[in-house]
């Protein structure tokens, strides 16, 4: 039976690799990696600033720059509600009707 001596065959390839191909490839890969590293660094910086900004924003909600806290109206204090009484007094009968209907609707 015929046999073929594969082991005795040259390990050469019938193709060629273009000249300077590996050097060009190395430069291309290194440049691409450089770009990716730069992008990663920029992303890290942006993420760092974003988290710092979030922390600062949350802190500002609770800390007034002049130490006075947030300027939230005190609706428990009746003197601040005096203007609301005036508002009711100036309402027409129709407006009071609408207000009463809306109050009933929203349960207040």
């Amino acid at each position: 039976m015929k046999d073929f001596d594969l082991e005795g065959l040259s390990r050469e390839m019938p193709y060629k690799m273009p000249e300077h191909f590996l050097d060009d490839m190395t430069e291309r890969v290194v440049s691409q990696i450089g770009k990716q590293r730069k992008q990663n660094r920029e992303r890290k910086i942006v993420a760092l600033f974003a988290s710092a900004a979030s922390v600062a924003a949350v802190a500002l909600l609770f800390i007034h720059p002049f130490g006075g806290g947030l300027d939230i109206p005190d609706y428990e204090n009746i003197s601040q509600c005096a203007s609301i009484d005036e508002l009711f007094q100036n309402m027409t009968a129709d407006e009071l009707g609408v207000y009463s209907m809306m109050s009933n609707y929203y349960g207040n």
């Binding site: 015929k2 046999d3 073929f4 594969l6 065959l9 040259s10 390990r11 050469e12 390839m13 019938p14 193709y15 690799m17 273009p18 191909f21 590996l22 490839m25 190395t26 291309r28 890969v29 290194v30 691409q32 990696i33 450089g34 990716q36 590293r37």
Partner: protein
């Protein structure tokens, strides 16, 4: 690490830097580009030929090699010195080659159905003056199923041991030996059938 350790070129001009040194540089963010250069210097050519034997066309081999090296950078943290660096590199290159072939095969075909088109590419890529027996050998390899092709190439051209091929391909040594045996038989049959 010491600088002189990483760039040793012997009198024949080949790089003698150890894989351990390259792996250490690769994991060090400030030396990663140097590590990639060293890998290209030491393994660029064997990896190129390994890929090219799988995908045949130079343009495809170029894309695969580039992706391989980018993946080396991206996934460098996954490298474990449990295996040799070369096996890890060959594994990435093999996966990239298979990925390209799978994309080419699409949803309707398998990679193993690409044999005839790869065989046709062999003659185109080889050119008219190429050695006929070498062309026949590549045609026979192109017609092999992907697994047999990988095992045959790694053993026949890259002189890898079955243990190393196991690290790259993942199958058991006995399965690899069977694949190699079948591949050799098919190649011999093809060459005997087509040789003038």
């Amino acid at each position: 690490m010491k600088r002189e350790e990483s760039n040793i070129v012997n009198s024949q001009g080949s790089l003698t830097v150890s894989d351990e040194s390259i792996a250490r540089l690769l994991c060090d963010d400030s030396h990663v580009e140097e590590a990639v250069r060293l890998i290209m210097k030491k393994y660029g050519e064997p990896l190129y030929w390994h890929i090219r034997r799988m995908v045949v066309a130079h343009d495809d081999a170029e894309d695969c090699l580039q992706e391989t090296m980018i993946n080396v950078y991206k996934y460098r943290s996954t490298y474990s010195n449990e295996y040799p660096l070369s096996s890890w590199l060959y594994k990435i290159a093999t996966n990239e080659s298979l990925k390209l072939l799978k994309n080419r095969a699409g949803f309707t075909m398998s990679v193993d159905d690409l044999g005839d088109s790869l065989k046709d590419s062999v003659r185109e890529e080889a050119g008219p003056n190429a050695d006929e027996t070498l062309v026949l050998l590549q045609e026979a390899i192109a017609l092999l199923p992907a697994k047999q092709k990988m095992v045959f190439n790694l053993r026949y051209y890259d002189d890898k041991s079955y243990e190393e091929i196991h690290q790259i391909v993942g199958d058991s040594v006995n399965t690899l030996k069977t694949n190699y045996h079948y591949a050799v038989q098919k190649i011999k049959d093809y060459i005997l059938e087509h040789q003038l």
